[in-house]
Symmetry: C2
Subunit: 439 residues, 2 copies
């Protein structure tokens, strides 16, 4: 063999990390690439947006994770271009448009870049609604929500107070349900307690779902339970409510009704990360790359796609959730190792482990082992599974302490409006000082 098999993995999410882990120690040269220096534990991101836990509790340095994985290196970079002919991918420092890219050859390339918010072309949604997909979204949303309460204290005009204190969440899937519940627990407990200038009946939380019930895709009983629980927590659940337009201070619902709100959170849709489409790969309507049942690109042997970004042909695309990405990551790693041994890869098959979503204190829904659970048992299950899956001992312990403290005191200590603008401006001086990476 002329060289060790070179594998480049784009994306250090659940799928990319699993592939890297499975390829470690197999004598391959694995380069893992992400534009962030951390892995994001997405299932708890909504809690950052609700000031329940801090960003560092769901973000974990990738280098720390891969440190003991033999043969795996990490590079914080953006993948700019794929050249299937020369079998190279171009990498450049994130956010630095001027930097000359570094051209990296590969034998196998795994595209595990995940997904972005999908606004379905609803006018104004991309400009005015807050997505909740990345750590920075959680931080910006937290600042914005807490800022609404600080602002309302200084407002005397009743209509302006309504706009500041109305929070609309679009999308009744797991993220929307979880965020609505977490926001209600933040707003109606700690925020009202500490904002004596705001009356109990002023804040309003509305959850809009276009379909007939919450949590589409799981047994109806779970969605109905979630709706009842949220209603008891003073969240207005509106099903059959399609959003027609989002404005800077309002949401227009099909049928003509307009909700005046300075906060619109968008959890309604997800689409494959933009790079696939930019590179001209064959994508479906959701921006997911059409790959063979083996997850390999028909057009380019040795290029694999997995997780939210992959739409294997010949079946309904699997849901865009972490378990799919993890299973596909393991599958692609096995396929590459087979290929190295001159064996053929096999088609991927998804084993559905179920669903877990929390609504609030002692309230959750679960579908596991072919059964459904609600209430406290589901909640305990949810907490256990998420704590166990959180990467890194310290994070687990810190999250446990945070949760226990919140649970006992109905408190939220991460209620910080961080000066992101000032911090970003200060950081810019560092960027401007640096010469191009590859002069």
């Amino acid at each position: 063999m002329p060289h060790r098999t070179r594998v480049v993995i784009v994306g250090a999410g659940f799928g990319g990390l699993e592939t890297a882990r499975r390829l470690a120690g197999e004598g391959l040269d694995v380069l893992l690439v992400d534009r962030h220096n951390y892995h994001t534990f997405f299932p708890l991101l909504y809690q950052v947006g609700a000031a329940e836990i801090d960003a560092s509790e769901i973000a974990y340095p990738v280098r720390r994770i891969v440190r003991r994985w033999e043969g795996v290196r990490f590079r914080m970079a953006e993948a700019r271009k794929l050249d299937p002919t020369s079998r190279t991918v171009s990498l450049a420092p994130p956010g630095d448009g001027d930097a000359a890219p570094e051209v990296v050859p590969f034998d196998h390339l795994i595209l595990a870049a995940g997904s972005d918010a999908h606004f379905f072309g609803v006018p104004g949604a991309a400009e005015h609604a807050f997505p909740l997909r990345q750590v920075e979204h959680g931080l910006a949303l937290r600042n914005h929500v807490l800022g609404r309460f600080e602002r309302a204290e200084a407002l005397t005009d009743p209509a302006a107070r309504v706009a500041a204190l109305t929070f609309v969440i679009v999308g009744g899937g797991a993220t929307g349900v979880e965020y609505a519940g977490a926001l209600a627990e933040l707003v109606y407990r700690p925020l009202l307690r500490d904002h004596r200038g705001i009356r109990r009946e002023e804040p309003r939380i509305v959850l809009l779902e276009a379909g007939e019930g919450l949590l589409p895709g799981v047994p109806e009983r779970l969605g109905a339970y979630a709706a009842r629980r949220l209603d008891r927590m003073d969240v207005e659940v509106r099903t059959g409510a399609t959003v027609r337009r989002v404005g800077p201070r309002e949401v227009e619902i099909e049928g003509g009704e307009t909700l005046v709100a300075e906060t619109v959170v968008w959890t309604a849709g997800v689409r494959g990360a933009g790079l696939a489409e930019r590179w001209g790969l064959p994508v479906d309507r959701q921006g997911r790359v059409r790959v063979a049942p083996t997850l390999e690109l028909a057009e380019a042997e040795g290029v694999w796609v997995l997780g939210d970004l992959a739409a294997p042909t010949g079946e309904d695309p699997p849901p865009m959730v972490a378990p799919v990405a993890i299973q596909q990551g393991a599958h692609v790693a096995r396929s590459i190792l087979r290929r190295v041994r001159a064996a053929e890869p096999e088609p991927f098959r998804y084993r559905d482990p179920g669903l877990l979503a929390t609504i609030g204190r002692n309230a959750a829904v679960a579908r596991l082992f072919g059964r459904t659970f609600t209430g406290y048992p589901a909640w305990a299950l949810w907490a256990g599974v998420h704590i166990a899956r959180l990467i890194g001992f310290r994070n687990r312990l810190v999250v446990l302490v945070s949760w226990a403290w919140d649970y006992v005191t109905f408190e939220r200590v991460v209620r910080l409006i961080l000066p992101l603008r000032e911090a970003a401006r200060l950081e810019e001086r560092g960027r401007s000082s640096a010469p191009p990476s590859r002069p």
Copy 2:
């Protein structure tokens, strides 16, 4: 009496909080104002810049602190203008230049706005050096330092690698010494361990102090100990080194030597917060307001200045440290209560509690009870005092867990390069959507 005595406190730092606490429950109407919604525990801020603890561990929501203080309200706002004649102060939402200010009358006004970095007119320092005074400075510096290592991995030019991996700290006072030590512990342990593309001899940390020794103002033995310890930690300590100019990628030292470095941290000077000067109050060369020995402004009865912002006449101005601000906060509260009872305020006298500064693992210096300590005893004292003083039970516990974890593992889990620019941009949509506060 026509109305309850109205007290406005500008600044929720150590001094402002202490004043509010002492005035609570005394039948006064107290309005505490800060442009952040949190109190910053400044003594541990350098640890944020060294990825040792997270921002939420040193920032604590003001509303949570004042919740049980009877008669004390909080407003997140900037103080824009003081009118001593009408005895009013104008407040406006932070960062919103267009907002019409709210005019608030007072009987007593306490200016406790603290201090900013002081660059002494050194060319380029304000533009290119990183200050370390506010939470956002800590976050930006953390991003920048971690970013230098990620960048260096992609650099092949030796000169470019030197610039990326040289870190210059200007100022050998407590903050400079503490940050130099914390940075050495970050760089030479976790960062080198996880950046296998960077050689042990490449990173360079230089601490520049213009005076003859480190920690000016404390017994020489402590400064000498700090210098020896830092030297053992591979920090180059240069005393008698005055900075003449800071450029985008270099620091010029008096005498002609130039250090090439993409990171320059400025801890060399502090001056009173700018608002006093903008309002035309009588300030000294350090921007501190000249007040009577009672801390009252001679020009306006009932206007008090304390902490870093105050320079009482008739003595050397006290050092710009937290104990002074806390003692002055208590003193001003007592004086206001005396005035309410028609008694005259007394001059402030500082009782120096000593000094504590940490250099690293098991290494610190202390001056307490007229004695000096170094090494492990000083370090244990330092940790105990700071944990005890941290506001909020959860923060204490979380910081303890962080420290214990770092201590056992030589690890740093908060090594996150947060996308501040993206978060700030996302937050802007919230700002632009909001109409002026007081239409």
